[in-house]
Symmetry: C2
Subunit: 466 residues, 2 copies
C-alpha cells in the first residue's frame, strides 16, 4: 500500500458537509487515540467528522483515488487501539451521525446511525417497553457503530448474547465508496452469504458502518442479586464452572478478585465486603420463583466449593449498587494504577468455562513470577476474564515485566483452549497475537477476504490483520 | 471455469478410503438430486462417500489439480437443489462421517461430524440433559453438516433461533484441500473476522464442513399448547403480528391455512378441526404459570382479531399429536399433489411480522389470479411462510402458471420488505432471484469473496451465486 501524505486533502472539503473536514493538527491529534493503554498512534493528515452517508462516501472515494488510509472511529472508547491514527491517514469519525432513525415496536427492531450512544438507545427504547441488551463496560459512552465493529460484549452476555446476536442488517460504505445494504430486517433469512455477520467485529478493516438494524427484546424483567464470598479465585472459578453447567441461566455472573475489590472499595462507597479472595456477583431475572431458585442453587454450589458467605437480596437498590460497584472496576483500577506510576494493561482472554479453576491457579503463578500486580475482574459466566497488570510505567524493568506478564496471560488463555480476546478485539494491541490463534488456513482466508474487499489496503491498515 | 470431464478419476481411488469412490453411473446418478422439485441436475462423473477428513482433502486436491467441480452433499434433503449434481462434477457425500465426537456437559457444547442426523444428535443429547433446538422439517433425516451449510431453521426458531445461533466453531476443507479451523469453542470471542458465520449458510460454495462445534441448551421444558381457529388467513396473520409484538415468547407458533388442514386431515388421523380458514398452533414452555399466561394472552388477541375458537391443552399427548400434524404437512401435501398430477412448488418467503396480514391478502390475490392451488403453512411467529403451489405437472399451461405463481409469491415477499428465502436457501432454485434481493454492492462482495476463497470456481459452481 502506498501512502500519499501530500494528497491535496483540501480538495475534499467541498465534497463534505460544511465544517466536517478538520486539518488543524492540534484538533486532529486529539482524535489520535482510543482508550487502549500503551498503544502507539501515527500522524493523521486530517479528520472528517461525518454528518451524512454522503460524507462517508466522499471520504472513501477520495481515499481510494489517492490511496489514503482511513481509520473509522466511533467514540474511541475501544481498548485495543483499533481506532488509533495511522501515519498519513484520514480519521473518519462518525459520532455525529447519531440519530435513532426508527423504533419498530411491532417487529421489535430499530434502525440507528452508527454514532448513537449505547445507553442513549437503551433509554429511548425503555419508553417503548423494549430493550437492547448488549452492555459493554463503555455502555454510557460508546457508540452502536463501534459496538458492532468490535462485536462488543458486556455483563448481559451470559444470558443475552453479544452484539452480533442483535444485528439483523446494516448499511456499509465500502472501500471504493459503494454503499450497500447487508443482511435483512426479517427474523430469518438465508439469501446469500451472511455478510452482515462478516462485518460485525471487522474493526473498520472491511467497510464503514453507516446504519444498523438491530433486533430488540421486550424490556428485561428486574433481577434479584446474590453476592458470594470466596477464600480464593480458584474456588470462585470452580463454582462458576459447576453453576453454569447446572442448567442455570443467570442474567449476570461477574467475578472480582480480592485486589480488585480492594481498589473498588478505595474508590467509592459501594459496601463490598473486604478481606476476601474473590467475590462473585450473580443475578437472575427468571420468572416467578425461578429467580430465587437459581440463586439458591448458586448458594448450594458456592458453599460446596468453599464459598464462605452468600448474600441474596431482592432489593433493587442493592442490585443497582452492586452492579455499580462492578462497573466501577475500570475507573477504580485506573486510579489505583495512576497512584503507582500509571502502568495498566487490561487483558481480555476467554476460556472454556470448564477451565476457570485452572486458569486462576496458573494466573496466580504468573502473578508470582513477575514484579507487577495482577488484579482480575471479568464476565465469569462466559469464561471471559480481564486480568489487569498494574505497574510503574516509569520503571523500565517493571514495564518490561508487565508486558511479559500480559503476554503470559494471553498464552495461558490459548493453552486452555481459549481465545486472545473475548470482547475487546484485536486492533493494534493484539495484532501479533492473532497469528497465534488462527491456523495457516484461517490466516490466509483473512488475508484473501481483506484483499478482495479492500484491494488498495486503505481500510484501517495494520490493525487486526497485521 | 474449465471442466475436465475426462479427468483420470480412477487415479483418485488409491488416495481414498477403500470403497469410497463410486464410478458406476447408476449409483452416481442415484445421488444426483436433493428434494427440490422441478430443479434440474447435471451428469456427475463420480461419487465419493467420504469416511474421513483425509478423504475430503484428497477429493479437493484432486479437484483443484484437474479443475473439477465438487458438489458436497449431506442427506440431500434440501429444498433448493443446492446438492444437485453438476455436469462433470464429483459428488462429495459426507453422510458416512457421522460420529458424535464429544458431548461436553460442563461447557454445554458438542463436536460432531457433518453426517450426524439432527434427530440422532437430539436423542443422544437427551441422555445428557442437553438439547440442540434447531428442528428443520427434515429433522429426522437431515444432517448437521447440511443444516449448517444451509443455516437450517424450523419450528423452534421463534424462541430458540436458527442453526447459526448454535455454531461456535467448525473444521473446514477449503477448495485447495487446506484444512482449517474457524471460530472457537468458547462462549465469546472476537479474534479476527467471523469466518465460521461466513461459512454457515454458504451452501457448499466456500468449503466443505467436516466437523462442527455446537453450543447446546439444557433440555427444554415441556410446552403446553393452544390451537386457534380463524375464518381466514388474514385474521390469523394479524393475530400473529399483535401477539409477537406483545412481548410473548412462544416456543412454537405455526400456521396452517384451510387447504393445508384439509390435506393433513386426509393424510392421517390428527384430529384437527375441519372447515376453517386458518389454524394457528401455539406453544409456550415458559416457567411456572408463565406458560398458561402466554396462551391466555394468545386467546385474548386471537379473539380480538376474529378467531372463533381457541383450545388450550396441557396434556403432552395433545401437544405431540398437534406438532405431528404440523410435521405431516409436507408428506400430506406431497400425497395430495401426487393425486393431482404431481406438481408442487414449495416457497419459503420470510416477511416482517408486521406484514403478515397484508401478505395473506395479496397471497389470496395470487391464488385467484392463476389456475393452480396455493396451500400455505409456515413458521408464522418468524414471518416465514411456505406457500405451496400445487398443479398438474402434465398440463403445460398449469405448469407455466405454477411457475408464475411461485415467482409472484417471491416478489410479494420482497415487496413487503422480506426475503426470497427464510430457511430453505438459494441453491439452484432461486439463484436468479438472489440478484433481486441483493443490491449491486452486496452482489459484488459475494462475487469477490467467492473468487478469493475458490479461485478456480470448483465449489458447487452455479449454485447460490449463479
Amino acid at each position: 500500500m502506498s501512502v500519499t501524505t501530500a494528497a491535496p486533502i483540501q480538495a475534499l472539503e467541498g465534497q463534505l458537509s460544511p465544517g466536517a473536514l478538520v486539518t488543524d493538527l492540534d484538533v486532529v491529534d486529539s482524535y489520535a487515540f482510543d482508550k487502549a493503554l500503551f498503544c502507539s498512534a501515527g500522524q493523521a493528515m486530517g479528520l472528517v467528522r461525518a454528518r451524512t452517508v454522503d460524507d462517508v462516501v466522499a471520504v472513501m472515494r477520495f481515499a481510494t483515488e489517492h490511496h489514503i488510509p482511513v481509520v473509522t472511529q466511533g467514540a474511541r472508547t475501544g481498548l485495543s487501539g483499533a481506532a488509533n491514527a495511522i501515519d498519513g491517514s484520514l480519521l473518519l469519525n462518525v459520532t455525529t451521525m447519531n440519530e435513532i432513525v426508527e423504533v419498530d415496536e411491532v417487529n421489535r427492531t430499530c434502525r440507528v446511525q452508527p454514532g448513537v450512544i449505547n445507553q442513549d438507545l437503551k433509554t429511548a427504547l425503555a419508553d417503548h417497553g423494549l430493550s437492547y441488551p448488549p452492555d459493554p463496560g463503555s455502555v454510557a459512552i460508546s457508540t452502536i457503530g463501534g459496538n458492532v465493529a468490535t462485536n462488543a460484549g458486556g455483563m448481559c452476555c451470559v444470558k443475552y448474547g453479544v452484539t452480533k446476536d442483535y444485528v439483523r442488517a446494516m448499511t456499509v460504505v465500502l472501500a471504493d465508496g459503494t454503499v450497500t445494504k447487508l443482511g435483512r430486517a426479517t427474523a430469518k433469512g438465508v439469501a446469500g452469504l451472511d455478510l452482515a455477520a462478516l462485518l460485525v467485529g471487522s474493526e473498520g478493516t472491511l467497510g464503514t458502518i453507516v446504519e444498523v438494524t438491530l433486533a430488540l427484546k421486550p424490556a428485561l424483567p428486574p433481577p434479584i442479586t446474590a453476592v458470594g464470598i470466596f477464600p480464593d479465585t480458584e474456588s470462585a472459578g470452580r463454582t462458576v464452572t459447576e453453576y453454569m453447567s447446572s442448567g442455570a441461566a443467570p442474567s449476570l455472573l461477574e467475578l472480582m478478585d480480592g485486589p480488585t475489590v480492594g481498589m473498588v472499595n478505595a474508590y467509592g462507597h459501594f459496601g463490598l465486603p473486604d478481606d476476601l479472595g474473590a467475590l462473585l456477583l450473580v443475578q437472575s431475572n427468571a420468572q416467578g420463583a425461578g429467580a430465587m431458585d437459581e440463586l439458591e442453587t448458586f448458594r448450594r454450589i458456592a458453599e460446596s466449593h468453599g464459598g464462605t458467605e452468600v448474600f441474596v437480596s431482592d432489593d433493587p437498590a442493592d442490585s443497582e449498587m452492586l452492579v455499580a460497584a462492578r462497573r466501577a472496576v475500570a475507573p477504580a483500577m485506573e486510579k489505583y494504577a495512576d497512584e503507582r506510576g500509571g502502568g495498566e494493561l487490561v487483558d481480555d482472554v476467554c476460556v472454556p468455562r470448564s477451565a476457570l479453576g485452572e486458569f486462576f491457579e496458573k494466573l496466580a503463578d504468573i502473578d508470582a513470577r513477575f514484579d507487577v500486580e495482577v488484579a482480575t475482574a471479568g464476565h465469569a459466566g462466559d469464561g471471559n476474564m480481564h486480568p489487569s497488570v498494574v505497574f510503574d510505567a516509569g520503571d523500565e524493568d517493571q514495564a518490561r515485566q508487565a508486558q511479559e506478564a500480559f503476554a503470559a496471560i494471553i498464552q495461558l488463555g490459548l493453552d486452555l483452549g481459549g481465545t486472545i480476546t473475548g470482547e475487546h478485539g484485536v486492533g493494534f494491541l493484539k495484532r501479533e497475537w492473532l497469528g497465534h490463534e488462527l491456523d495457516a488456513g484461517a490466516a490466509l482466508m483473512h488475508q484473501r477476504i481483506k484483499e478482495a474487499l479492500d484491494p488498495l489496503g486503505i481500510l484501517n491498515p495494520g490493525k487486526m490483520l497485521g
